[in-house]
């Protein structure tokens, strides 16, 4: 980083709010060439925003810190290829071609994987087979062993987070391992579209064509995102034909059956069905348990079977949710040093499992408490001082203090115009009673659970 720019950043950090600085100044990269300072923004939007809001300030600061040596400041779009290698201590280094270059012969497979956009974690060995996915898995293994000849194209469809990407990439990884010269590209359809747009903009369509038409296997994820993008569909149509005619493998995935993908040209939809179309269904309970156990072993998490069943029973829709819950359990367990068990999982995943999307308000608390003690809400707000009313009122006030952000005067006011000191007294009284009277403690816990779950 240019030392002038470093000084500018230090000053701007003090002058701007942290949010402003981290949003607009932090992503800029600088390079100085004699009297010119070039500032690179990651995109046009950021560049234009910076010019509109901070150009004058930046110019003044550069002028001050360079004693007038910087005569020209350019605001550009792009990135400097610096610093990546210095980040080698990141636990999970960047994996693209622009990432740290590993040139040892043993890493050749790693380089080919990176060039193909494949993740080494997606393998057949780590894919858990169940009734819901066994045909898709078997077809993928067949293709990995006989690319371009077994089934072409392979079209995998199913809901989100069920393993389509895993299977596609497992095929890619296997082909790369079995064939030293095979060239593969895995892309998300959205990436295909944006690559094409960039190539058109920079007049580099020949490069684009040779990248996508010169491979032995093209794996395109979520083709439903081609919907409505006519130019991209046109280009993909020709890519498809070029690969198909030369016997190269094509694997596609989508969230639905080819004929049901709306917004796609008929000629594409029909081609998608030329080979083999396989579905992946949501996994059954046993498969979800097996997936959790497999991922737990991959992440080095000790997951008892009853906990795996508990999580799998609660999270049914997709594998990503299971993974999120598992990672959460692993993080909590490693932080607390407590082994994962059923009770631990219940507590750790409480907020994930029970969507806490209800806003707790004083009014809501009053309604729930009144209902619980079988009295009227108006009783809570009244001047009545009988035990059957005062106790619920005190509990409701204590709950309002604990669960809402209202000030104590606001809470007092909402309970029939009482003083803030009454709220303090009520909260103290309830706290005291909860230690001496287990029935009140039970009531309080029940109400807390009702209001927060």
């Amino acid at each position: 980083m240019s030392s002038i720019w470093k000084k500018c950043c230090e000053r701007l950090k003090g002058d701007l709010s942290p949010q402003e600085f981290n949003t607009w100044i932090l992503p800029l990269q600088a390079s100085r060439e004699s009297s010119q300072l070039r500032l690179f923004a990651p995109n046009r939007f950021v560049r234009d925003w910076v010019r509109e809001h901070y150009e004058h300030q930046i110019e003044e600061l550069c002028n001050t810190f360079s004693d007038g040596d910087i005569k020209d400041i350019r605001f550009e779009i792009g990135t400097l290829e610096t610093g990546r290698a210095a980040h080698a201590d990141m636990a999970e280094p960047k994996t693209t071609a622009s990432g740290p270059k590993a040139s040892a012969p043993g890493n050749r497979l790693g380089e080919r994987r990176r060039a193909a956009n494949l993740s080494p974690t997606f393998r057949f060995e780590t894919f858990v087979e169940g009734k819901s996915n066994q045909i898709a898995r078997a077809a993928s293994i067949q293709i990995a062993c006989n690319p371009g000849t077994a089934y072409n194209p392979l079209f995998i469809y199913g809901g989100v987070g069920l393993g389509k990407t895993h299977l596609m990439q497992a095929v890619g990884n296997t082909i790369l391992e079995q064939n030293d010269t095979a060239s593969i590209v895995y892309v998300h359809s959205e990436r295909f579209v944006s690559d094409m747009i960039k190539s058109l903009q920079h007049n580099r369509m020949d490069d684009f064509k040779s990248r996508y038409r010169g491979v032995n296997a093209l794996l395109i994820d979520d083709v439903q995102f081609f919907a409505g993008k006519e130019r991209s569909q046109e280009e993909f149509f020709h890519t498809f034909n070029a690969l198909f005619e030369t016997g190269q493998q094509i694997i596609l995935s989508s969230d639905r059956f080819p004929k049901e993908v709306s917004g796609l040209e008929e000629r594409l939809r029909s081609r998608f069905g030329w080979g083999l179309t396989v579905a992946i269904e949501p996994p059954d309970l046993e498969t979800r348990v097996a997936i959790l156990q497999s991922k737990a072993s991959l992440f080095g998490i000790d997951l008892p079977e009853d906990v795996a069943f508990f999580v799998a029973k609660r999270l049914r829709s997709n594998v990503r949710e299971l993974e999120g819950a598992l990672r959460r359990l692993g993080a909590n367990s490693s932080f607390t040093g407590v082994a994962i068990n059923l009770e631990f999982a219940r507590v750790a995943l409480h907020d994930m499992l029970i969507a806490q999307d209800k806003q707790v308000t004083i009014e809501n608390i009053q309604k729930v408490v009144a209902n619980y003690f079988k009295i009227r809400t108006s009783d809570l707000l009244s001047a009545k001082r009988t035990r059957s009313i005062t106790r619920p009122r005190q509990i409701a006030m204590a709950l309002a203090k604990e669960l809402t952000k209202n000030s104590l005067p606001e809470i007092g006011k909402a309970f029939g115009g009482r003083d803030h000191s009454t709220v303090i007294h009520a909260a103290k009284k309830v706290e005291e009673l909860r230690t001496t009277d287990h029935l009140i403690d039970e009531d309080y816990k029940n109400l807390l659970r009702t209001l927060t779950s």
Binding site: Q19, T23, M90, G324, R328, N332, D357
Partner: protein, 231 residues
């Protein structure tokens, strides 16, 4: 004689050191791991407004910047933003997205975030998000985005209880160069809005007035300043 204070206020840095953990030791530990580049490359924090999400995202940015990482912080609640602001961010080492719930239901934004998530994954970049609700209940229309945002650990940030708010007042006053004794803090907590942002604004006001009047912020001073009781 009244002391005239200069209208200068240095923004209070939001760091991990001055974050009051309260009941949030676990999310804090997870965030430290994320900053260190350990564990999952994607982390979500959720909690109601005022529970410290923005503070933690800013603190994470400061830590990563100190480690010479390239990164960006984006609050999706900021006026004037368009999805184009996310283009090319995957080349950065880390992206911190705040107020993610704001774009739920907006197809162009959801698709942009979905693409950004995929690209960051391809590039090995790290993603930190914050929202008022866990990703599974934010209400995204694009199932692909929702499922991806559910793939990492999501931690609930609990709002500060009275003990935490008391720490906040004590440390906040210290950071502003004055002291608030226990009685003064108790006085404020029993009479003023108890969300951290309001309390910090109140500290700014106390700071300015006590300096101007040359008075120590005791309970009588606070009582006079707040006009007895402030709801």
């Amino acid at each position: 004689m009244q002391q005239l204070g200069l209208a200068l206020r240095l923004p209070q840095p939001q760091t991990l050191a001055n974050f009051i953990p309260g009941r949030n030791a676990e999310p804090l530990a997870a965030l430290r791991q994320w900053i260190a580049g350990a564990g999952a490359p994607y982390l979500a924090l959720h909690g109601e407004p005022g529970c410290g999400k923005t503070h933690l995202l800013q603190a994470a940015c400061a830590q990563l910047q100190a480690r010479a990482r390239s990164l960006v912080y984006l609050s999706l609640a900021q006026a004037g933003l368009a999805p184009a602001v996310c283009e090319g961010l995957e080349v950065l080492d880390a992206v911190a997205l705040d107020d993610v719930q704001e774009i739920a239901g907006q197809a162009p934004w959801e698709q942009t975030l979905f693409a950004l998530f995929n690209r960051l994954q391809e590039h090995g970049g790290r993603l930190l998000i914050a929202a008022t609700r866990p990703p599974a209940t934010i209400g995204f229309q694009l199932a692909d985005l929702q499922s991806r945002l559910c793939s990492g650990p999501s931690f609930l940030l609990q709002p500060l209880n009275d003990l935490g708010l008391d720490d906040l007042l004590e440390q906040g006053a210290q950071a502003r160069g004055f002291a608030l004794d226990v009685a003064a803090r108790r006085y404020l907590l029993s009479r003023c809005p108890r969300d951290p942002a309001s309390l910090l604004r109140l500290l700014d006001e106390i700071d300015a007035v006590s300096l101007a009047q040359g008075r120590i912020p005791t309970v009588p001073f606070l009582s006079a300043l707040l006009g007895g009781c402030r709801a």
